[in-house]
């Protein structure tokens, strides 16, 4: 980026970002320095891409006019801790309104690809149309700026995400990769394709330790465009860490909310996996398609029980001191580490474990690994499978698919393989479509077409206003569980003021664990921006930009045909309240109706302008 001002809030046009537009139909490309329209453009990520998506009227995700926008955030590749994010934005094949229009969507991932992409000198790659042959895109840094080439990807077809990355790493030194798996290649029948991003650890160890931009089917969009991989090749360009940023980074590790995510041996909470213990205390760990049973079955996947038989290791993304990953491997007889299985984050572990009746850690790990290798979003996949299993439980005499039941590891494994290979569109196209096909939509745990993360909707009515999937674009998931808020006022304030700010992380290039409770409108971020770019900007201006970006996301949903009644929780939650969940009931129809009215009263006037 070119920064010709110290005041990007007042003079965003004096900040220019480097954008390459590639037309896959003819290979033509344009590289230009584009002046920012506003602070959202400067911050980057979906704050910029959604403004561009808003300029297009797209009626089907799989059409030539639907672009794939790959970009980074202002702090991607910087010295600020967690500055690793890459964003993929497009109209989504999986998230869409009942009118049949696709929703604008972004997905974010860590790994080192984002930093390498930024260091090539490019800030944004806009991929237009589709290629007649499978290709991959190589972005390299040259003395005259970034250079972009398309190369034949025939040799990569049919490989898993991990194998594609390892094959490319043999061809390209000093590079990182963003690839799709077989799921993305089979985009016609798989709407939940993810993009896998390579990590340092993966390239060094040869183990499949990718990170994923999973949500919304951005890997399927890549597949539709016939782009199998992106390669970013250049030297690392990390600057020395200034005293100011060093202080912030220390605060992130020691003082901020991230302390809870650190390894137990460092006095932390042990990563997101630890949510199991806390939610189980309320009987709010999803079990068998989001129906906790008030028993201790989720405890089988508690860390203390898993580490008896498996080897658990804490690891981190490149240069991140938070170290939030828990990698699970087989344990050898002498206690040493055996074969690597998968990364245990709370979401995939629950949704491909307890929530589908799998309570053995090794089996859950193998299913996660399978989902990762095929390149599917583990959240959408797990929830669509749990819908099918719940259907089979209700209709024992006429089950669907292969008749799999909760806990039936082999049959569930087959479902994942078939879905990943594009042979099972019933699973590959997500729970909304499957439930419509079966005529039983009440039990499908999605909101607006995107499957829920592993937090019971009973604990989070805010899900309805999340603009890019459950917990990561509406931070209200702890409002009841952690803060004990049961009054409508607190929920209205949470949804319309404080908790929407979680999306700021998907603009600026930082991981949410940088400061998950406070967002990016903080002194910590102000200090990083001053130190990295000499920017003089206040926290309020940043917060205002994040709010505008969130509202644009909401406006785009309405423009793509969502009715207000689609901003809703799965109907089973209201129609058959779960008596086992030990939390106050804040999802009665009456509570939700009040919430809806009050939330829209606040959002509607602000949206009016954006919808013109």
């Amino acid at each position: 980026m070119k920064m010709n001002t110290t005041d990007p809030a007042a003079h965003p046009e004096q900040v220019l970002y480097s954008r390459c537009t590639v037309d896959l139909s003819n290979g033509q490309q344009t590289i230009e320095d584009v002046p920012c329209r506003n602070l959202e453009d400067v911050l980057g990520g979906f704050g910029r891409s959604f403004q561009d998506l808003a300029q297009r009227r797209i009626e089907s995700a799989y059409c030539d006019e639907n672009p794939l926008i790959v970009n980074t955030g202002l702090l991607t590749g910087s010295t600020a801790m967690t500055g690793m994010r890459t964003y993929f934005s497009s109209y989504s094949p999986i998230k869409g309104s009942k009118k049949g229009l696709p929703a604008a969507m972004w997905s974010a991932g860590s790994g080192k690809f984002g930093a390498k992409f930024k260091w090539t000198g490019l800030d944004e790659l806009v991929i237009e149309n589709r290629s007649p042959q499978p290709v991959y895109v190589v972005i390299t840094a040259t003395d005259t700026g970034p250079q972009i080439e398309l190369r034949s990807a025939e040799h990569l077809l049919g490989l898993s995400t991990h194998d594609k990355i390892m094959a490319l790493s043999k061809e390209y030194d000093n590079a990182h990769f963003a690839v799709i798996g077989q799921a993305g290649e089979n985009w016609e029948n798989v709407y939940m394709g993810a993009v896998a991003l390579s990590t340092e650890n993966q390239l060094k160890s040869g183990e499949d330790k990718c990170r994923f931009a999973g949500r919304g089917g951005m890997g399927s969009i890549m597949g539709y465009k016939n782009v199998v991989a992106l390669v970013a090749q250049c030297n690392d360009k990390i600057k020395p860490v200034s005293a100011e940023v060093k202080k912030v980074n220390l605060n992130v590790i020691k003082g901020g909310g991230a302390a809870r995510l650190q390894p137990i041996r460092r006095g932390g909470g042990g990563g997101t996996w630890a949510a199991y213990d806390v939610l189980q205390a309320f009987h709010a760990v999803p079990v068998n398609n989001f129906r906790p049973q008030g028993n201790d079955i989720p405890e089988k996947l508690f860390r203390e029980n898993v580490e008896k038989d498996y080897f658990i290791e804490s690891q981190a993304c490149y240069r991140c001191g938070i170290t939030c990953h828990n990698n699970i491997s087989e344990k050898n007889a002498d206690g040493s580490r055996g074969e690597f299985l998968a990364k245990f984050d709370y979401e995939p572990l629950n949704l491909l474990g307890t929530n589908i009746g799998i309570h053995e850690a090794g089996q859950a790990a193998r299913l996660i690994q399978l989902s990762d290798n095929y390149g599917m979003d583990a959240i959408s996949l797990g929830v669509t499978i749990s819908y099918a299993l719940a259907y089979n439980e209700r209709h024992g005499d006429q089950p669907i698919l292969n008749g799999a039941q909760f806990g039936d590891y082999e049959k569930i494994r087959q479902l994942i393989i078939q879905a990943g290979e594009g042979r099972l569109p019933e699973i590959g196209c997500g729970s909304m479509r499957l439930s419509q096909q079966m005529g039983e939509t009440d039990y499908a745990y999605h909101v607006k077409g995107l499957e829920l993360a592993a937090y019971q909707p009973e604990s989070n009515p805010g899900y309805a206003w999340a603009i890019a999937g459950g917990h990561m674009s509406m931070g209200t998931y702890g409002l009841l569980t952690r803060e004990g808020k049961t009054d409508v006022d607190s929920w209205v304030k949470g949804i319309t003021e404080d908790k929407l700010h979680i999306v700021g992380f998907d603009m600026i290039g930082l991981c949410k664990f940088f400061d998950i409770n406070n967002g990016i409108g903080t002194q910590m971020v102000v200090d990083c921006l001053r130190s990295e770019f000499g920017f003089e900007i206040d926290a309020q201006s940043i917060r205002a930009a994040v709010r505008r970006a969130f509202l644009l996301g909401l406006a785009l949903e309405l423009r793509q045909g969502y009715e207000k009644n689609e901003f809703a929780l799965p109907a089973e939650v209201h129609k058959n309240p779960n008596p086992h969940i030990k939390l106050s009931n804040i999802t009665s129809e009456q509570f939700f109706a009040q919430l809806e009215q009050r939330v829209w009263e606040i959002f509607d006037p602000e949206l009016e302008e954006l919808l013109k």
Partner: protein, 76 residues
Amino acid sequence: MAIIITVKLVGVFRIDRFKEQSYPLPCGSRAVDVIEALNLSRRLLGIILINGAHASENDQLQSGDCLTLMPLIEGG
């Protein structure tokens, strides 16, 4: 005068401590007294429940109360 409460610990707080235990305390004790006596990390402490209801560190405990202390992991 002393009171007896039940203390339940969740997640990492159980390591080298206990899962559930009867706990005698002087009359007038508050949740914070238990947190300090057990040397629980304040950085990790996320949720305090007294008899299943969300409470704060300064809430006073009565004999027979059940105090649950949990860490909290955000998101992910």
